[in-house]
């Protein structure tokens, strides 16, 4: 283009255009976003300084207890026991309510009848009788459920409930006298039998929350009622005035017509008098 241009101004124009074209044609292909070129040292240093530093997560004792693998313990503990311990811990985490029972002597026929009665009551509780104390020790050591380990010393059974209706649970327990409730794990807490009975006496939390919301909104409601009281009274009186009964309407209309005629006659007489 330069050699084609003849005048100096045109040559300058062509050179600027050429530079522009050179600048626009910096990248021959599309920029590589998957494997970008490493930045310059200064830019890289700036980017490294600007990277966010997140705080360390809190120590999870339950995870640590499982993750800490001592080879000697693995050799001593049975692998099936470790599997059962993990299953127990998962069940404790998955179910909102877990009952801990002491069981007396019972037959399999009685257990079947108990499961049938729970099914009839539409109460989903999975009963796991005969808990192994070694499995419980393995599952709960180092966790927040460690105080439950001594409960597994004697005849202990677990009941995993999917629902959290405590009243229904206590009704269901009356149909299984062989199983005696000694503790419960509910709402991420270990509850004794007295605490369970107190929990059953408490009201439904949704009702209590609704009551709290209504109490908090009471002041604003009274204020709005006070502000709109006069307007409401006025509108009510207007509606009652605009919609009277049939007798009152007919009497009022006749009285209105009489009054109109009287007023017209009086105005007419006044007009005549004025003349």
């Amino acid at each position: 283009m330069l050699f084609l241009a003849k005048s100096p101004t045109s040559k300058e124009l062509c050179s600027s255009l050429w530079n522009l074209m050179v600048q626009q044609l910096r990248y021959s292909n599309r920029p590589n976003l998957k494997r970008p070129l490493p930045p310059h040292f200064n830019r890289a240093r700036m980017l490294a300084v600007c990277e966010p530093v997140y705080p360390k997560p809190p120590r999870n004792c339950e995870k640590d207890a499982l993750i800490v693998k001592n080879t000697e313990n693995i050799l001593q503990d049975n692998l099936y026991a470790i599997f059962l311990a993990r299953k127990l811990r998962k069940d404790l985490q998955d179910h909102p309510v877990t009952c801990i029972f002491h069981y007396n002597s019972f037959t399999q026929h009685e257990l079947i009848n108990i499961r049938g009665s729970l099914y009839d009551m539409n109460f989903d509780m999975k009963i796991q009788p005969e808990i192994n104390r070694n499995m419980v020790r393995l599952a709960l050591t180092g966790t927040r459920w460690a105080p439950l380990i001594p409960l597994a010393e004697s005849r202990t059974a677990l009941g995993f409930c999917k629902g959290d209706d405590i009243n229904k649970l206590l009704k269901a327990l009356k149909k299984m006298p062989q199983f005696l409730l000694i503790a419960m794990v509910a709402y991420d807490r270990i509850l004794s039998k007295n605490a369970v009975e107190e929990l059953a006496r408490l009201r439904d939390i949704t009702n209590v929350r609704a009551q709290l919301c209504s109490t908090l909104a009471l002041q604003s409601v009274t204020l709005s009622q006070n502000l709109t009281a006069n307007i409401n009274a006025l509108s009510h009186s207007l509606t009652t005035y605009s919609q009277p009964g049939e007798d009152t309407r007919s009497s009022s209309s006749s009285s209105d017509s009489d009054s109109d005629s009287d007023s017209s006659s009086s105005s007419h007489s006044d007009g005549e008098k004025g003349k």
């Binding site: 002491h102 010393e153 004697s154 005849r155």
Partner: protein, 136 residues
């Protein structure tokens, strides 16, 4: 594999479980009117009461006296467990199980209760004889 020993003396088992089993076989609740268990499940020595509860719930022991009532109080005051046996003659026996083992409780229970068990009645005298038996 043979169940029986091929050599050596066959001795009577003398482990603690066998002693407990022998005491359990002797238990009779005939003179007992009511048994009340009180224990705190989180106490250190609650195992004794719980084991006793399980043992006395055996069907064979229940068969000795179906009228015997069992009551359980689960408390949460860190108190040691206790077992109270109310007898039909008005007296009651209280076992404080804080420092007792299951075997000791069973032994003392048998020591107190078994003398009060009435002797078995001779039913042959009440059964009427047939004509052929009378002729003989």
């Amino acid at each position: 594999m043979s169940v029986f020993r091929k050599s050596g003396l066959v001795r009577k088992p003398t482990g603690i479980f066998n002693v407990i089993i022998s005491e359990v076989k002797r238990v009779s609740l005939q003179p007992v009117q009511r048994v009340t268990y009180t224990f705190d499940p989180f106490h250190e020595n609650a195992k004794t009461v719980r084991d006793l509860m399980f043992i006395l719930s055996f069907p064979k022991i229940r068969e000795t006296n179906y009228k015997c009532a069992f009551k359980t109080n689960v408390v949460c005051d860190r108190s040691e467990g206790s077992v109270e046996c109310k007898l039909e003659n008005g007296k009651s026996v209280l076992f404080k199980t804080g420092n007792l083992t299951t075997l000791e409780i069973l032994q003392q229970l048998n020591k107190v209760v078994l003398p009060l068990v009435p002797p078995p009645q001779d039913l042959s005298a009440s059964i009427p004889k047939t004509k052929s038996q009378k002729k003989k």
